[in-house]
Symmetry: D2
Subunit: 139 residues, 4 copies
Amino acid sequence: MSEQKFSRFRSEITVRPDDIDVNNHVHFTKYLDYVLAARYMQMREFYKMSMEEFWKRDLTWVVSDLKISFKRELRLEDVAVVETGVNSYNGAQCLVDFIIYKKDGMKVAAEGHFNYTMLSLKSGRPVRLPEDIIQMYSI
Amino acid sequence: MSEQKFSRFRSEITVRPDDIDVNNHVHFTKYLDYVLAARYMQMREFYKMSMEEFWKRDLTWVVSDLKISFKRELRLEDVAVVETGVNSYNGAQCLVDFIIYKKDGMKVAAEGHFNYTMLSLKSGRPVRLPEDIIQMYSI
Amino acid sequence: MSEQKFSRFRSEITVRPDDIDVNNHVHFTKYLDYVLAARYMQMREFYKMSMEEFWKRDLTWVVSDLKISFKRELRLEDVAVVETGVNSYNGAQCLVDFIIYKKDGMKVAAEGHFNYTMLSLKSGRPVRLPEDIIQMYSI
Amino acid sequence: MSEQKFSRFRSEITVRPDDIDVNNHVHFTKYLDYVLAARYMQMREFYKMSMEEFWKRDLTWVVSDLKISFKRELRLEDVAVVETGVNSYNGAQCLVDFIIYKKDGMKVAAEGHFNYTMLSLKSGRPVRLPEDIIQMYSI
C-alpha cells in the first residue's frame, strides 16, 4: 500500500422508513448501503467519472471486503452525513475509509472501510487500475 | 367516501444504488417505498404532525390495500418527485393518491393509490379518525 | 382477456429478519417480493422454464401494474405460503393472481394480482407472447 | 476473550430475486442479512432460546461491529449454506464467526465475524451476559 492521502468528501443521505428495522433504528446493513450511495454520488460530483462511465469502459467496482463499527443509532428523523476518502491504491484494489455522522450534532454513527476491486465486465476478473483513473481519483 | 379534495404535496427522493435490481432500474417494490418515504416527509413538513407524533398518541397508520401502475423506468441517475394527496376519509381509512415523476422531464414514472387504516397501538384494532386529525389533514 | 383458467401452485417463503419493519411485522412491500420469489421458483419447478431461460431468448417479464390487499400480519416466526396462478393472457401481457397464506393455520395474509408484460431485452419494448411459451405456461 | 470453542451450526437460505442487484448477483449487504437470518434460525432451533424470548426478558442483541470478506458470487439460482458459531464471550459481548457457502459445490462465498452486544431494552445500555444465557449458548 502506498502512503499517500487523498481528499475526503461528504454527502447527505436522508433516512427512509424502509431502512428502519424492528429495533426502531436504521437496519445495520443499510449503513453500508449509505456508504455505497455516497460513493456513487461522490464519483459523479467530485471525481467526475460516474459508475455508468466505468461501465462504458467495461469496468466495474465490487466490494471485496469491509469492516464497520457501529457507534450511535440513526433514526427515522435523521440525516446521515457520509464522509469517504481513498486511503490507498494497490494493483486492482482501492481502499476507501468512511465515517458516517448523524447530521444533527455531527457525532459519529459508524466508521470503517471498504476494499474495492476493479473488475473487467467482459472477463469478470480483476484488472490493474489504469493510470488515467488513478490520476483522476488522486485528488 | 366524501367528495372533498385536498392539497397535493411534492417531495424529492434520490435513487440509491441498493434500489436498483437485475433489470438495471429501480426495483418495482421500491417505488412503493418512495411513496411511503414521501408521505412521512409530507406529514412532518406540511401537515405538521409526524408519524412519531401519531405514535405518541398510541396511533399508527398501516397500508391496507394499494394499487400501482408502472409507466416509465427510474434509473440510477434519476431523482423521483413523489406527489401525494388525500383523496378522501372514511371511518378509520384515508385514501391517498400518488404520482411518481422522473424529475428530469417530469414524465410520469408510476401512479396509483394507498388506502391507509388508522390503528390503535394498544389494541392493534382500527380506530375511527379523530376529528382534530381530520382537521389537521384537511388542508 | 380470455376466460380460460390455469393451474395454481404453492411455494413456501420463510420470513427473514431484514423483512421486518418498525411495526414488528413484515414490511408491506416485502409481501410483493415474496410473490416475485414464489413466481421465480414456480417458473423453474412447474413451468420448466426459468427466468434465466427467458433471458437466454432475449425476453424478460416486468410487472406493469399490481394490486394487493393486506388481511393479516406476517411476523418473524412465520412461513408464508404463496399461491399463484395465471388468470389470463392477452397480447404481451399475462395476468397472475396470488394469495399469500400464513402457513400456521393457513389464513389469508394478503391477496391480489400482478399484471406482467413480456419485453424484448434488445429493444426494451413489449413482445406478443410466443405461442410455444403460452403452451408451456398453459398447464 | 476466553479460548473455549463452541458448536457450529448450518442453515440454508434460498436466494430471492429482490436480493439480486445490478451486477446480476446477490447484493453485498444481503450476505450480512443471510448471516442474521441464519443466526435467528439457529437461536430458535439449536440454542432453544429465540430472539423473541430474549425480548420477553427485556434483552436484545445488536451488532456492534463486523467484518466480511467476499470470495465468490451468489446468484439467483443459488442456495446459501450459512455456518455460524460462537467464538468467545466477553462481558456484554459475544463474538460470532461465520462462513457462507454456495450449496452447489460447497465453496466459500464469504466469511467473517459479527461482534454482538447484549442490550437492555429498558435502558438501551449494554448488559453483562447473564450466566444462564452463557450456559444455554455454550453448546
